[in-house]
């Protein structure tokens, strides 16, 4: 966990945009643009003033250093930030500074030179209520501004900004020697004597343009140090900061050079937009200002927010996610220990797109996987989040569904088909047809039908995962260590990570290599797009094999706009119980990538898209004519029945064997209405669960009778959830009229009024 924590140190989340970086004042352009785009000129003016001190002066004089850094520069034209600033200054109505009632601060500061830099420094220090004295050798404020712009603009701005501030101004006072001020008790001096002015020995010192003279810190800046007017003004502001540091700590901290911004401009947002031409006497109208502000693509490093579904859905930046995850997985028994990221940790689809997008290679999904393991160890993982899939895995690996067999008459095999547990659950034909074909090509091909154990990995249950991996390894060894022919890309990824000794190859590559021939090729005019599952991202051989097979079957293909650079369909990481809204959001987002029909080669992608009513087929549908777009998805109960049917069919058709044990059937005649079946599917409740509850209620008489509705209501705990069933009885039939479930546990029902009752739930 600590390894991942450290990776975030290089996160570029707080990197400033390039324009802010180039701006002498480091104006927060993102904030400024946001306010302009909602026409909040007063608020934008405040942002601008806080950065530049004298908005009217800067708007008039700024030569737009930012323009050279704007990513639009080479495309159309840099965003006209200076024009926006001037529009803002012109349109803002509330321009007077706020009068803060602050206590006076200790510290007497002398400022030599009432030019643009000296005034800026004085303004900052005055507003913090330091005792400020300005010495000016001429009889007026402004210095070089008199040569640069109309006096009515800058004099008015200076007057306005100093409106609420008190300071001592000594005009016509020439300071030629620092000793001259010695008796006046200054704690700090700012030398801003302008171009070719007297430097009082400040220039070219070891620590920058400053030194200590007795008890006084002497700083220099502005045009004296060779800067142009805007940088001179900015110097005054940063020297005010350096003086404050000096006064509070006694240390000289001369502002150093900032590191260049490492922000990354998002090329996806960058398309040609011509610069807006101002029509209001050289300034923008409201609509023009909004339009120009919209040209700004708000450069910052937001690759994670653009690509990672988790960052996007929770609207959280990586550093906040890191902190919340770390807090959540900290071991603590305290009642007040917070676990704010439990849902977030269980919402990651493990698609790995964050890692690919992040320029600093931060491994968020690995961190989240590790966090799930920690949660499980700390017993803080809500059991209901993964229970359904863990039970599903147990069933897929049980004697009712799992098959581990060499081909008929063979003792060992060089190849074995590993379809994964969901393919046959979706439709047994998906396994039967390809396996028969494989046998027709290489009759020694064995079959290993079971779960790849990824549910335990996603649930963070290391012990269970370890056991399943070991059992998988043993199954593989028992078959004679064959090459496994895999139908599911997620299984391939899981094998590569945990069972690298097993050689795998995808079914689709094998279909090609072993020369699959379509029985009947039906040409269709419809255009399809192959949806590559996140587990097959960048795995070119599989991707290409699927495309060639699909084209052979007679369809026309068109690539998705970004190829395989998309996240998960919403199935990965088993997030739909922890965060159903997220799963739905992601599924909708992926469905909307293209209007074309999708071809999936991960059965979970197909099921998710089908659930979203997105037209989709599995590539095996095209090759073996199994399902059509119109086929209906099986519900959770039917999926289990499919698995049993698959094993039974395989045993009888391939090996001529009879299936010995089948899951126990419900002893009662349970009738479930179709709308209740749908509800059970959403709640992920099996018919078996409902039977269980009703059987228990009949046996123990623990049920509530509703005389109006003539129904019985009973409940039973199923692992981490409690399932309630409402039913009515007609003869020997039990008709289920409602089901619902909750995660909270009902305590102490077993003891009632001090005596034990039979509540053996």
């Amino acid at each position: 966990m600590e390894k991942y924590f450290k990776q975030f140190e290089s996160c570029r989340q707080s990197e400033k945009p390039f324009c802010t970086d180039a701006c002498p004042f480091h104006l927060d352009v993102l904030d400024f643009q946001e306010k302009i785009s909602r026409k909040s000129y007063n608020a934008a003016y405040r942002t601008y003033r806080n950065a530049v001190a004298f908005p009217d002066i800067v708007a008039e004089l700024c030569p737009e250093y930012c323009a050279a850094k704007c990513p639009r520069k080479d495309l159309d034209q840099s965003v006209q930030l200076n024009l926006l600033e001037r529009t803002c200054v012109n349109k803002a109505v509330k321009k007077d500074p706020t009068d803060y009632n602050l206590p006076a601060k200790k510290g007497k500061i002398g400022i030599i030179g009432a030019g643009i830099s000296g005034l800026a420094c004085a303004l900052r220090l005055c507003s913090k209520k330091f005792n400020v004295t300005i010495f000016e050798k001429t009889d007026k404020l402004g210095g070089q501004l008199w040569n640069l712009m109309p006096q009515e603009i800058f004099l008015k701005d200076i007057e306005r900004q100093f409106k609420h501030e008190n300071y001592t101004l000594q005009l016509n006072t020439s300071v030629d020697d620092i000793e001259q001020l010695k008796d006046q008790g200054f704690d700090a001096l700012y030398v801003a004597t302008g171009k070719n002015g007297f430097d009082f020995g400040t220039l070219n010192r070891e620590k920058g343009q400053c030194y200590i003279n007795g008890d006084t810190g002497v700083f220099a800046g502005g045009s004296l140090t060779g800067k142009d007017p805007m940088f001179a003004l900015a110097d005054g502001l940063s020297m005010a900061w350096a003086i404050e540091v000096w006064l509070s700590t006694g240390k000289l901290e001369y502002p150093g050079k900032r590191q260049p911004s490492k922000a990354v401009s998002n090329q996806d947002k960058l398309w040609r937009l011509e610069a807006v031409i101002p029509t209001d006497n050289g300034l923008f109208t409201d609509e023009e200002a909004v339009e120009e502000a919209a040209r700004c693509i708000r450069c910052q490093c937001d690759a994670c927010k653009t690509y990672c579904d988790l960052c996007d859905f929770f609207n959280k930046w990586p550093l906040q996610m890191r902190d919340e995850i770390m807090t959540t997985v900290m071991s603590s028994e305290s009642m007040i220990h917070k676990t704010p990221a439990i849902r977030l940790i269980n919402t990651c689809t493990q698609c790995g797109l964050f890692e690919e997008a992040c320029p600093e290679d931060i491994e968020l999904s690995d961190m989240i996987k590790e966090a799930r393991k920690r949660l499980h160890k700390l017993n803080k993982m809500p059991g209901a989040y993964h229970q359904f899939w863990l039970r599903d895995m147990a069933f897929a690996n049980s004697k009712f569904a799992a098959v581990k067999k060499t081909a008929p008459g063979e003792k060992q095999c060089n190849y074995a088909f590993f379809p994964g547990c969901h393919l046959g659950a979706a439709d047994p034909e998906y396994v039967i047809e390809p396996y028969k074909w494989l046998l027709s090509k290489k009759p020694q091909t064995g079959l290993l039908l079971r779960c790849c154990s990824v549910p335990a990995d996603w649930a963070g249950n290391e012990a269970l995962h370890g056991e399943e991996i070991q059992s998988l390894r043993e199954d593989w060894q028992a078959l004679g260590e064959p090459v496994l022919i895999m139908a599911c890309p997620t299984c391939i990824r899981n094998f590569a990570e945990y069972l690298p000794e097993i050689q795998t190859v995808s079914l689709y590559e094998v279909l090609e290599q072993w020369k699959f021939e379509q029985k009947s090729v039906k040409k269709t005019k419809k255009i399809y797009s192959v949806f590559d599952p996140c587990s097959a991202r960048h795995i070119d051989p599989i991707q290409q094999a699927v495309r060639r097979l699909a084209e052979q079957s007679g369809v026309t293909l068109e690539e998705l706009p970004k190829g395989d650079q998309h996240g998960c369909c919403g199935y990965g990481g088993h997030v739909s119980i922890a965060n159903p809204k997220f799963a739905e959001h992601v599924a909708k987002k992926r469905s909307a990538l293209s209007d074309n029909l999708y071809i999936a080669y991960c059965i979970n992608c197909r099921d998710v898209f089908k659930g979203e009513n997105k037209p989709v087929v599995h590539v095996l549908d095209l090759l073996f004519n199994i399902n059509t777009q119109e086929s209906v998805l099986p519900d959770v109960t039917q999926r289990r029945e499919n698995r049993v049917r698959l094993k039974e069919t395989l045993l009888s058709e391939i090996w001529g064997e009879k299936m010995e044990s089948k899951p126990e059937k419900c002893k009662l005649n349970i009738v479930i209405r179709p709308e209740i079946k749908e509800k059970m599917n959403t709640l992920k409740l099996l018919k078996e669960d409902v039977c269980n509850v009703v059987e228990y209620s009949q046996k123990s008489n623990r049920r509530t009778f509703d005389p109006q509705k003539k129904t019985y209501l009973c409940y039973r705990e199923i692992g981490h959830i409690t399932c309630w069933v409402e039913y009515c009885q007609a003869g020997d039939a039990f008709e289920v009229v409602n089901v619902y479930s909750h995660r909270m546990k009902i305590e102490l029902e077993a003891v009632w009024n001090g005596k034990k009752t039979e509540a053996d739930l």
Binding site: D706, Y712, H742, R743, I746
Partner: protein
């Protein structure tokens, strides 16, 4: 006004009454009044409560 629903405990054949029940989730325990049999203590929780307050509390504890 909504009619008060009458419910009978099928084992004891008595009317269920409002009594406190202790619930627990994610290591936290709390009490709430729901319908119970005054004889055997059997609990009845309506779908309305499950979908409403109960799911809110579950969500709150998961996000705490």
């Amino acid at each position: 006004m909504e009619k008060k629903q009458k419910l009978i405990c099928d084992r004891c054949k008595v009317e269920m009454v409002d009594k406190e029940v202790q619930f627990s989730y994610l290591g936290k325990s709390f009490r709430h009044k729901v319908k119970r049999c005054p004889e055997c203590g059997q609990v009845y929780i309506s779908e309305e409560l499950v979908k409403g307050r109960m799911s809110q509390v579950e969500k709150m504890l998961e996000d705490k």
